[in-house]
Subunit: 273 residues, 2 copies
DNA sequence: TCTGAACGCTCCCCCTGGGGGAGAGTCCAC
DNA sequence: GTGGACTCTCCCCCAGGGGGAGCGTTCAGA
């Protein structure tokens, strides 16, 4: 079967078939030595269909190759499953992008309400780890469960977290979650930790965290507009969260950005104004 | 604000910001004439965020530009909605690709059951149009509704369709749907039409049409293996369909591919064997 | 046996939306 | 004034294709 006939049967363009040959993804059954003509066999149609479908799922050609060369159907299925998991992640990202976009494009965004607050140092029960940005949610759930088990009824306030800037800039960084309590225990990953004193620019994000990036952006704008610079990890306090109510619309998250006035000598933390 | 500071605030890489400048997507507030240094303003953060989100939705840069330059929020919202519609389509495509893939990777596919059948010419009530491949489903629903209204109880068999090869090869081609009836009416788009006699290679697809492409592929393989060539539009007969049962698993679709034996002189239709 | 259309070949450049790195110039605080 | 961090432009790279030039092959009809 010539490349044109094969193309018609598989709905892959002639160009694409040649490319797949070059990539050793789908080699013609016979290649005429003298003319270079490619001839395909009927038995290659299923492989071509598999490739077509995988490409529709945006599986990279290298992965397609790996899948085709895996004889064990079980392993093969798991490779495909891996990719489907990646698709799910993309879908998630897409969903939150849509939510943020709605808010970003809203005709008249309400002006942001920012409070400058001098926060004293305090000791809390904490769990910390270097995590990837996309794993934060999962990690948070586990860490907070462990914290609640360790602290129990001795909790003296809402939970919070501190997230290194590298987490946003390099997609990976130090994250700390904590529960305030009078005498922090030390069990498992839970240990006492000191939150340093800081001058914080604080605003409150309302509702789910889908569009929290937008609030971050507004806070960042405020900080720059007020001639300040950011110093240190961002803090979040889950004033009202899933522990308190099942209605995400009622959630309140305080975002605190450590700041100092631009021009203050030595780059140290600013004195409260 | 230098490009680096702006980069940190928006989570867009310095490189990407420069690219956006080049593309006239997001121009720095000030560009130093002598050094070429780019300086951004605080008021550009929201635009950068919008771009970021749109890019997460895979909106092409040209469309992002169009959206940003549209002052009317209503028009802007509709541009975004258009893209969301496109995302939905991709999602649909992904879903069917997953279903097909499952079947394609099944360890032991049952051998296909093909019958060679000489179909006589017959006259039916038909609706026809040149449609795009992805619009076939929608178009079919409307056409079939009109057919049923026109023919009513005079129906003498299951509905069917005939789909030009161009529909699969060029993504656009002639589609015909019909209902068999003794005296085809002529109202609206409905008119009498003659299905030409043909030698058909017929197989039956079971269930939803998500993975019907796989059955097509198997039929194509059979046709080539049996030394035949395809001649003319493919036919489908909806022996058991949504009109008959709400259980998609019970659907039966006959796929008939007009064939002729390779080597028959003049390329005319084959005599039945 | 010739001829012309249809089809095939390779090679090169183009597109999208980025990333890596070289080599040189600039900014700013000490 | 000096060093380090930052920025500039320029070129090459990636995937996964598409367009087209220029030329060779196949095959059926005359």
């Amino acid at each position: 079967m010539t490349i044109g006939e094969f193309s018609r049967l598989t709905h892959l363009s002639v160009r694409t078939l040649r490319r797949y040959h070059e990539a050793a993804l789908l080699e013609p059954a016979v290649v005429d030595e003298t003319t270079g003509y490619r001839y395909y066999g009927v038995d290659q149609i299923p492989a071509a269909q598999v490739i077509h479908r995988l490409r529709e799922l945006d599986v990279p050609l290298s992965d397609v190759q790996r899948i085709l060369r895996t004889p064990d159907p079980g392993v093969r299925a798991s490779l495909v499953a891996d990719h489907l998991q990646r698709l799910e992640d993309v879908l998630d990202r897409t969903r939150t992008a849509v939510v943020s976009l709605r808010r970003l494009l809203r005709p008249d965004p309400a002006p942001i309400d920012v409070e400058l607050r001098a926060e004293p140092a305090r000791t809390v029960a904490a769990v910390e780890a270097v995590v990837a940005h996309r794993d934060v949610t999962t990690w948070y759930a586990g860490a907070m469960a462990e914290l609640e088990a360790a602290v129990g009824a001795a909790v003296t306030g809402p939970p919070g977290g501190s997230y290194d800037n590298a987490l946003f800039e390099q997609e990976r960084g130090l994250a700390v979650v904590y529960l305030p309590t009078a005498a922090p225990p030390r069990t498992g990953r839970v240990h006492p930790a000191t939150l340093p004193a800081a001058e914080l620019a604080v605003t409150t994000h309302v509702g789910e965290h889908d569009d929290i990036e937008v609030t971050y952006g507004e806070l960042g704008t405020w900080v720059v507009e007020n001639a300040m610079s950011v110093a240190g990890p961002v803090r979040e306090v889950y004033v009202v969260g899933p522990r308190d109510t099942n209605d995400p619309a009622a959630w309140r998250t305080e975002i605190g950005w450590p700041v100092f006035r631009v021009g203050v000598v030595e780059g140290g933390p600013a004195a409260p104004r």
